[in-house]
Subunit: 96 residues, 2 copies
Amino acid sequence: MLKVIAEDFIHLDAVETVLPLYRELVEHTRQEPACIAYDLFVDQKDPGHFIFVEEWPHRAALDAHCRTPHFSRLVPLINRHQRQEGTVILMDAFPA
Amino acid sequence: MLKVIAEDFIHLDAVETVLPLYRELVEHTRQEPACIAYDLFVDQKDPGHFIFVEEWPHRAALDAHCRTPHFSRLVPLINRHQRQEGTVILMDAFPA
């Protein structure tokens, strides 16, 4: 199991522009057979700070996601409106 | 619904010390009646970077969590081993 947190920082005046792009990205990604979870959230203190919480069975599934037509098309359109570089954390479950 | 990401940064030589404290915190917190999800992860690139992904019904439930005996006892014990200040993001679900 691979858990991912991916954070984007969008210019506040572009939030309305990116909302439909994020919506489309979420819809398509959830249809990927290997996608376990792909949930998007917004920072309560910053409407331009978008946070994905993702779950994939393994790294290969995440890498395949990043090569899909919807990812390749939509992410560059979103990134045009970044105000700073996004971040990604790949995580393992805590050893219970 | 309130989603939370809380990140801790622990000195690498203290990771073994904090693991049982985190384990106890997770166990107790999951027993709080209002807790929807309280999952802990570790950054694949940094074994001292711990990430909670939490879900609460509302802010009052999160605030109550932070006043529980287990939180009040365990979090200061963990924080003794911080190498930098932790971060917390309170998030709303993306408007689908």
